[in-house]
């Protein structure tokens, strides 16, 4: 075996760094708690209210309800991603990192791989976990006789992974979290400051959708489907509106953002003084 450093040894080093700081551990715990916990809470609440309004029954989407915790998780993964690089700038550790691994592109790709793999594994686990818990809650909630639209509908409707589109939606929930974590990471790489990169991330997720309200209505839909949160919604949707991208289009567009921001980040990082 050669002693030449390999991308794998850099990944190993970055994995040690990633798992040995408290912010990562807390971030991951928060991610699990929000996705699974909130998902269960919202599923439970909506199952209880299912019988009350007819309009609820018609629009009831058991997949989306069970995955509602993912909307909070979007924020958490961006912060985890940004911190993976900005914490090194904040402390100055980036210098000892670069002294050990001067090949900067390889370093960033290793960091991104660790983040990507971790968030993907956890993201899929929480996405499928929240889905299963939600469906269990729905399937075990009885609908009172008087409220039944159809006589055979004895319980709140639930979805199964076998239903067309459902598996994809739940799977893309984990993929979306991974892409958003990378988006936060590359924003952090460009900005180098924790506060600045988290602000930009939060603004693009939460504030931009609000701003589209002020756009002329014929533009609004064209523009708002390009916003990260709406792409995210498009990825986990099983019912498709004409205003939104299909799951694959949404995935492609979000991936494109990550690649563009990533390319800018890498270009800056390979030129900049550390």
């Amino acid at each position: 075996m050669s002693n030449h450093p390999t991308p794998l040894s850099i990944v190993r080093s970055e994995w040690i760094k990633f798992r040995t700081v408290r912010s990562t551990v807390w971030g991951v715990l928060t991610l699990i708690a929000l996705t699974v916990g909130f998902g269960a809470l919202i599923s439970f609440a909506s199952a209880g209210h299912y019988s009350q309004r007819d309009i609820e029954k018609l629009s009831f989407d058991p997949v989306l309800r069970s995955l509602s915790g993912l909307f909070f998780a979007q924020l958490v993964v961006g912060v985890i991603g940004a911190l993976a690089i900005t914490s090194e700038y904040g402390s100055g550790a980036i210098r000892s990192t670069l002294a050990a691994v001067p090949r900067r592109i390889e370093l960033i790709l290793a960091k991104a791989s660790v983040l990507k793999i971790t968030i993907f594994v956890i993201g899929e686990a929480v996405s499928f976990g929240a889905f299963s818990i939600g469906q269990m809650i729905f399937a075990s909630t009885k609908v009172p006789l008087a409220d039944r639209v159809f006589p055979e509908l004895t319980h709140v409707p639930s979805a199964s992974l076998g239903t067309p589109g459902v598996f994809l939606a739940v799977f893309l929930g984990g993929v979306a979290l991974t892409l958003l974590a990378l988006l936060g990471f590359f924003l952090g790489l460009i900005m180098r400051s924790t506060a600045a990169s988290i602000s930009v991330y939060v603004v693009s997720l939460l504030v931009l959708p609000i701003l589209t309200i002020f756009l002329p209505s014929n533009w609004r839909n064209d523009i708002s489907k390009f916003l990260p949160t709406n792409l995210f919604q498009g990825m986990i949707a099983t019912h498709h509106s004409t205003d939104a991208f299909s799951p694959w289009m949404a995935t492609g567009t979000l991936t494109f953002y990550v690649l563009v921001i990533g390319a800018i980040g890498l270009a800056l990082f390979s030129r900049r003084d550390a």
Partner: protein, 307 residues
């Protein structure tokens, strides 16, 4: 071996390092001396490939840092002891570094022992005192058993005990044939630590030589007491000496040796009561060398200047 070849570094309009060339040889401790802001840290960052020279280049063992296959096995550096994640333990910090350069984890425990941090290896580095932080930084520098070592102001924050330990440690590293490059803004420290000295001011090379050479060439003055001061002054001026200071019957001549003065006095029948060479200390030599290059020199507060 470390080489700088006409390295220049500009940050916007600030010229941090200007056309700096020197070679740091293995086997001795080389001190890198200069007042604050003279470009020492910038130079070290260029050597480590962290900052890109605006022009010129910096080489380690004849290669650019970026081209070293396993940098930590060839070069170890301590730039800033606080530059690590405060929440990570000392051991994990070193393990992450070791993993990237395929250094076995057993070496991590070894270096923790060498610097005397084994008892706190699992404690968060953020809670370390400045001295412990410096020791951890030194552990990181020697992790890959490198032949070239750079330390930027390593004694800052160390107690006298720690300073002595570091000094002896540097000597032993150099004795093993390694290149040891240590910066400081304190001449007194360098006088005890280094064999070779590279002195810079405002980013430019001022002197390069052994410690004793630099003290010797510093222009010391000679104190003379004589009842025939005026006559002597004329004689010394004729020999190229000048008056450095003058009070009552005592005078200090500069630019001339005590021997020359003694002979000149004998030739002219001038009586001398005292003839004392004023030996320049290394500190004075340093002050003299860098006098024109100190970035921020203290100004005495004049009365009525209450800013």
């Amino acid at each position: 071996m470390i080489q700088l070849e006409h390295a220049t570094k500009k940050y916007g309009d600030t010229i941090a390092v200007h056309d700096l060339s020197f070679t740091v040889e293995p086997g001795v401790v080389t001190g890198f001396l200069g007042p604050n802001g003279s470009g020492k840290s910038t130079t070290m960052r260029m050597v480590l490939g962290l900052d890109r020279p605006t022009s010129g280049r910096a080489l380690v063992n004849g290669k650019r840092y970026h081209d070293l296959t396993n940098p930590l096995r060839e070069v170890g550096a301590l730039l800033d002891a606080k530059a690590l994640h405060p929440g990570r333990s000392a051991r994990n910090h070193l393990r992450a570094l070791a993993a990237s350069n395929k250094i076995p984890f057993s070496r991590v425990d070894e270096v923790l022992g060498i610097v005397g941090l084994d008892a706190v290896a699992n404690k968060k580095a953020g809670g370390f005192s400045l001295g412990m932080g410096q020791r951890l930084g030194i552990a990181g520098a020697i992790l890959g058993d490198p032949g070239v070592l750079l330390f930027d102001e390593p004694v800052n924050g160390l107690d006298p005990e720690g300073i002595r330990w570091v000094r002896e440690f540097f000597h032993s590293l150099a004795a093993e044939g390694r290149t040891v490059f240590v910066s400081s803004h304190l001449m007194s420290e360098m006088a005890l630590t280094a064999h070779q000295l590279i002195v810079i001011g405002r980013g430019e090379l001022i002197r390069h030589g052994t410690v004793s050479e630099l003290t010797a060439t510093a222009t010391g003055s000679v104190l003379v007491r004589s009842p025939q001061i005026d006559e002597l002054t004329v004689a010394i001026a004729a020999l190229g000496g000048s008056v450095a200071s003058h009070r009552d019957d005592a005078i200090e001549f500069a630019g001339i040796t005590a021997e020359q003065i003694g002979v000149a006095a004998l030739d002219r029948g001038i009586a001398l009561y005292e003839l004392t060479p004023q030996r320049a200390s290394l500190e004075e030599a340093f002050m003299e060398m860098t006098a024109s290059s100190v970035e921020f020199s203290g100004q005495p507060l004049s009365e009525g200047n209450h800013a």
